[in-house]
């Protein structure tokens, strides 16, 4: 880990690589994240309206619950679990492939600090871009709740928007960004580690890619719980 965060040899090469990674992670994942977020919001809204039907709770609470559950939990966790599968496995396969094709050895012999050059730009790009993707997912998730409830007549537009504005706590947004930051760090470091130390052939590369997704996902869920405990006490 210390090697990864050591001083880069040439700043502009790292800058170029970081921008490329930001593009791959951010732009490359935007569609899938929006698609998932819209359904998360929609399903949450529909199921909560089903549970509230015939009860004493005001209907605008649907918007309120969708907003909070999406911001606090679903946007950061779902987004990062999906990215662990999409981006994490890709990082493990990319670095593992470079290891197997002797690209990493070639760089080492040139004098490049390969751990820093291959991993640091990915970590920086991920911790910058993934929290933004989480924020977009939160926005789209709330829009998904609107789409699922207002046109279908479950709620009026005014009721849903009233719910979105009710009992708003700024700190929930901070919690969302903290989760996004921690989860993105976990998924990149775990995936890069799995790829960097891969040994053997294509079967081992596949196993490393799978391990990257499995370990990242487990750690994301574990840290989700720990962050929830720490930030809500």
């Amino acid at each position: 880990m210390r090697t990864v965060f050591s001083r880069p040899e040439k700043f502009h090469m790292y800058y170029k690589e970081t921008i490329r990674q930001m593009n791959d992670i951010g732009i490359g994942s935007l569609v899938i994240i929006c698609l998932i977020a819209v359904f998360i919001g929609a399903v949450t809204a529909v199921q909560f309206s089903y549970q509230l039907s015939g009860g004493l709770v005001p209907r605008y609470y649907i918007g309120y619950v969708v907003r909070d559950i999406v911001i606090i939990e679903l946007a950061p966790t779902f987004t990062c679990l999906v990215l662990a599968g999409k981006v994490g496995s890709n990082m493990a396969a990319e670095i593992g492939g470079m290891r197997q094709k002797e690209h990493i050895d070639a760089m080492e012999i040139m004098g490049v600090n390969t751990a820093t050059f291959l991993i640091l730009p990915k970590v920086i790009a991920a911790v910058t871009v993934i929290p933004l993707l989480v924020a977009i997912a939160a926005f789209v998730g709330n829009a998904g709740g609107y789409i699922a409830t207002v046109p279908t007549g479950l709620l009026t537009s005014e009721e849903y928007i009233q719910g979105l504005r009710a009992f708003f706590i700024d700190f929930n947004v901070v919690m969302m960004f903290v989760k996004g930051l921690v989860f993105s760090f976990i998924l990149t470091t775990v995936s890069c580690y799995q790829g960097y130390f891969v040994k053997g052939g294509s079967i081992e590369l596949g196993q490393a890619s799978t391990a990257a997704v499995v370990y990242s996902s487990i750690l994301i869920l574990l840290f989700d719980y720990l962050i929830a405990i720490v930030l809500t006490q």
């Binding site: 040899e9 040439k10 090469m13 094709k101 002797e102 690209h103 050895d105 070639a106 080492e108 012999i109 040139m110 004098g111 490049v112 600090n113």
Partner: protein, 253 residues
Amino acid sequence: MIRIKDIKKSFGDVEVLKGITHDFEAGKTNLIIGRSGAGKTVLLKLLVGLFAPTSGEIWYDKTNFVELNRNQVREIRMQVGMLFQGSALFDSMTVQENISFPLDMFSKMTTKEKLDRVNYCLERVSLEGANDKYPSEVSGGMQKRVGIARSIVLKPKFLFCDEPNSGLDPKTSIVIDELIKSITIENNITTVINTHDMNSVMEIGDNIALLHMGELAWVGNKDDVLETDNQLLKDFIFASPFLQKLAKAAGGK
């Protein structure tokens, strides 16, 4: 010049190299030959620092490579070029970007100077105009030549080649051998080549070291090969019946 002294390397209980002492001379093509499993690749990886020896010394001129810390090793590596068996070109980069990568990483050249240097190296390996092609768009022989161009772009003092002719046809192999030889002489580089190719042995073997089961079994040059009494070398060089007949026809022992 590179000097190794009593180099040993073990992986677990298996001793792959059993105390090798040898000099790789500057301005010469130094060949490491031997059967598969003799320890050639391990020795080459020890020389470039991809493995650490269990014991022994590796001297790059007057510097003991084994005692250097990570940053000092990196400084030595600025003077090292390596051609890999599979070329190890970066797939996502063009030929020009591949060759320019070490310059981008370590030199303070302007873009124009870097381009001039890349073009010189491409010209040196007879690949003028291939700048914008990707590795997947060129043949195996051309990939090797791009690998050579990349390995000499920083004007190295030491050049390592791991099986430079593997997977190439005999004519292309000769071109690669001649290229390595001429670059070595031109720049007074210490070149170490790990090879199985008998043609390379007979054409460019200035200083040949035969490894057998982790030990140095024979040292000599291409002229000594036909005259040797060393049975291990004879078994290795003249393994095929065709070469045995040729050797007899040439009046060898």
